[in-house]
Symmetry: C2
Subunit: 125 residues, 2 copies
Amino acid sequence: MKPDFTKSELIPAIAQDHESGDVLMLAYMNEEAWNETLTSGRAVYYSSSRQKLWRKGEESGHVQHVKGMFLDCDADTILIKVEQVGGAACHAGYRSCLFRQILPETGEVVIVGDRVFDPDRVYGK
Amino acid sequence: MKPDFTKSELIPAIAQDHESGDVLMLAYMNEEAWNETLTSGRAVYYSSSRQKLWRKGEESGHVQHVKGMFLDCDADTILIKVEQVGGAACHAGYRSCLFRQILPETGEVVIVGDRVFDPDRVYGK
């Protein structure tokens, strides 16, 4: 069984920390990325902006070791439980990409995550 | 601050159980759904198949009370932490829509979730 790539070439894939349960990020997989993730045990996505496979961590070293892969009822959402090497999934240095909470009363933004690394040092920019 | 609907009219929204941390489902919000979720405190999505707002639970009673809303680094992924009324997010009666684990060795499917309700009874089909 695999995601239904006939509905869409790109299927959203949620990465969740396998221990804490924190949702780390959402990216997309095409069929090649799905297959390589399954066989390699490391998260591989498809980058629409770069139009190629995105082997998460290939630049930063912050790879994601896959601990479990799941498909939803309609086979159009992927969930992977991962061990995030380096402790941060986000290119901005936060543990999770979802570090901004929106307060319903005001629409105000509160930063809820800790910065684990300085992106300027990791990516050398 | 709000999701960047200029990139896409529909932004993926992950619903996560606010207590257990289980990822329950992924659906999509347009700007109207985002605004109504924020003001009503209940999860509202946009259904592409029905081409209208999908007030989660309006038929089954299994609404999602929103406990927190989050945006990612690129403002193109939403995370909502919810209290799932009725205990099941999935129309198939499972607590989570992501109840199928795919084993990497064989591609075999293992059902990992419990069925909380019988969809035939809830939806009367």
